[in-house]
Amino acid sequence: MEKDPSKKEDKNQEEQANNSSLVQKIQQLGQSNVPTAPDSNTHVLSIIGQVEGHVQLPAQNKTTKYEHLLPQLIAVEQNPKIEGLIILLNTVGGDVEAGLALSEMIASISKPTVSIVLGGGHSIGVPIAVSADHSFIAPTATMTIHPIRLNGLVIGVPQTFEYMDKMQDRVIDFVVQHSDIEEEKFKELMFAKGNLTRDIGTNVIGTDAVEYGLIDGVGGVSHAMLKLNEMIGDHQGPEEQVIQ
């Protein structure tokens, strides 16, 4: 009598295994092949969700891990076939030092770089957006500029405050150096009251960001590609031309 239920269980498991492999086959066969295109001379770096740095976020968060992007940036710089880089941004911000690391890496790439802010490029997304050689923002996209924050346990309040104050200056310096915005204007937006209901800062929308000089232009994919191709042409210069 005891054997029967176990046998039944075995059969059940087998059936389940069969079912799952069938489901997998359907999942895998339901895809079509795309004809292979020639290697693209422009590569794309998408920074989506939260910028994840020193702290690993819970699994349900959509994050961009900076340790994944840094080697990719090196690869873009090294590969002679890659002539330009487009950075797609739709981020709510995240780790300040990870964001600054990415910004510095993008800013120091020798190849032409163009960034597009789609949806949102908030907090630390602002330095990342301006770090490219040329930046675009979609007309409906927004950027929240606000002072940096810290949550969690703080040990040594005065020291931490001083450290945060310096970190704040690093962010401001970077943005001012890599965009056309005046330091005074940026600080004014950052510490403005009454724009974000109960918080200080400003939510800057597409055209306003361009007006303040933070972003170079309003545009989307076609504008960015056009600009990048133009910059690639300039970057290669006349030395590439064959003199006959």
Binding site: Q31, T36, H43, Q72
Partner: protein
């Protein structure tokens, strides 16, 4: 009943198992972020590449089961 501005993960941290199931692997020369399924196979979560053509390749599409 909880009424709080904190996110659910701040109150109930997700288990270590969730993290252990996910890992970064190299597959056909591309870096893929994969999740281990219950039957031990790996399913693609994300393709980590800067080449736009890689995203046109069905082998690297999210949801694909690696063989």
């Amino acid at each position: 009943m909880l009424y709080t501005p904190l996110s659910i993960t701040d109150i109930f941290p997700s288990s270590e198992q969730e993290f252990q199931k996910r890992q970064c692997v190299s597959y056909n020369g591309r870096q893929l972020y994969v999740e281990e399924m219950e039957d031990g196979q790996f399913q693609v979560l994300q393709l980590l590449s800067t080449d736009p053509q890689d995203f046109m390749n069905a082998d690297f599409m999210p949801g694909t089961i690696l063989r």
